[in-house]
Symmetry: C2
C-alpha cells in the first residue's frame, strides 16, 4: 500500500503554482474578450481536452475497470479529484433513479484567493469540462454543470453530473 | 523531519495538470499574437508576478534567513525548484568572481511533451521571471536568461543567473 501511495505521489507539484497558472490563463482569456459566456465555453473546452488526455493517466495509475453504474463512476471521479487536485469533494444528492448526483466542495486549489466580479464568469469551468472529456473516452456521455458556486456567494460549490447515455465503441469503417 | 516533510507536501497537486494548464496558457497567448518576443516578455512578466507572490510562501515554509552571498542564493533557488516544481536542477558553472552561475536540468514539468516550432519562443520564460520576481522581494536584483534549451535541440536546459546589485530597503518618505 505504501508503495502504491508513493507511486501515486511521485508526480506532484506545488498547488499554488497551479492556482497562479490557472489564474493567469483565465485573466489572459478575459483580456481577449469581455464576453464571459465565450470564456466559460472556452474554459470548458480546455478542460474537455485535458480530461481526454488525463483519463489514460488515471486508468494507468489506478488500474480501474469499466464502471457498470453511476455510483462507481462517482467514486472514480472523487478519486480523480484526490489524485489531480488533492481535494475530496463529497458525493451527494443522488436522484431517485440514480442517474444524477452532485459533487460538493468548499475549497479548491484552482480558485484559492479568487474574487470574482459579478459578470457570469464560471471560473472553474475547467472542471466540468475535464469530467465530460474523461468520461467520453470511456464511452460515457454526461452533462455537468454548476448549481452552486462559492465564488458567487454560495456556501459551497456544487457540481451536478447527469448520465446521458452510453456511447457505442467506435467501429472501424467497413465493419458492422 | 518527517513532520516537516509532510507539512511541505500538504499542498501538492498533480504535475500533469500543471503541465496542461501552462500549455493552455502559452497557446492562448500565441493565439493572440504571433510575435514570440511579446509572448516571451509576457510569460516572463507573469512569472515575475508569481515570484513576487511565492517568495512569501517560500520564506514561511522554509524559515530561510537572508542570503549573504550568491552561493546561498543558489541553494535557495534550487530548494524552491524542488518545492514548487518537484525537480532539482544542478547548480554549476560559477563565474570566477562568484557572481554568476547556471541552473541546469533535463526534465521540467512545465515543458513535458512539448514540441516547439522553430519560432524563437522561450516556452519556460515563466521560470526566469519567477526567480527575478522572488529575489527582487528580498532586495536582490539579478538577470536571468536561457543559454541552452532542450526544446530547441540542446542536450539540457541551462538558465544563467547573474547578480546585478543589492537593492536598498525602501525608506518611508521623509526619512533618511
Amino acid at each position: 500500500m505504501s508503495r502504491q501511495t508513493s507511486r501515486l505521489d511521485a508526480k506532484k507539484v506545488n498547488a499554488e503554482l497551479l492556482t497562479l497558472t490557472y489564474g493567469a490563463l483565465v485573466s489572459q482569456m478575459l483580456k481577449e474578450t469581455e464576453n464571459t459566456d465565450d470564456v466559460n465555453k472556452h474554459l470548458e473546452r480546455i478542460g474537455y481536452n485535458m480530461g481526454v488526455r488525463l483519463i489514460e493517466d488515471f486508468l494507468a495509475r489506478t488500474t480501474s475497470n469499466r464502471c457498470l453504474e453511476m455510483r462507481e463512476t462517482a467514486d472514480k471521479i472523487q478519486q480523480a479529484f484526490r489524485l489531480y487536485l488533492n481535494m475530496q469533494p463529497t458525493v451527494t444528492s443522488w436522484s431517485s433513479s440514480g442517474d444524477e448526483f452532485s459533487l460538493v466542495w468548499d475549497q479548491c486549489p484552482l480558485s484559492e484567493w479568487v474574487e470574482l466580479p459579478n459578470n457570469g464568469l464560471k471560473y472553474c469551468a475547467l472542471i466540468p469540462g475535464a469530467i465530460r472529456g474523461a468520461l467520453q473516452m470511456v464511452q460515457l456521455e454526461v452533462q455537468c454543470w454548476f448549481v452552486q458556486d462559492q465564488l458567487k456567494g454560495d456556501a459551497v460549490t456544487e457540481l451536478r453530473v447527469k448520465y446521458i447515455k452510453r456511447l457505442e465503441d467506435a467501429v472501424p469503417a467497413g465493419e458492422d
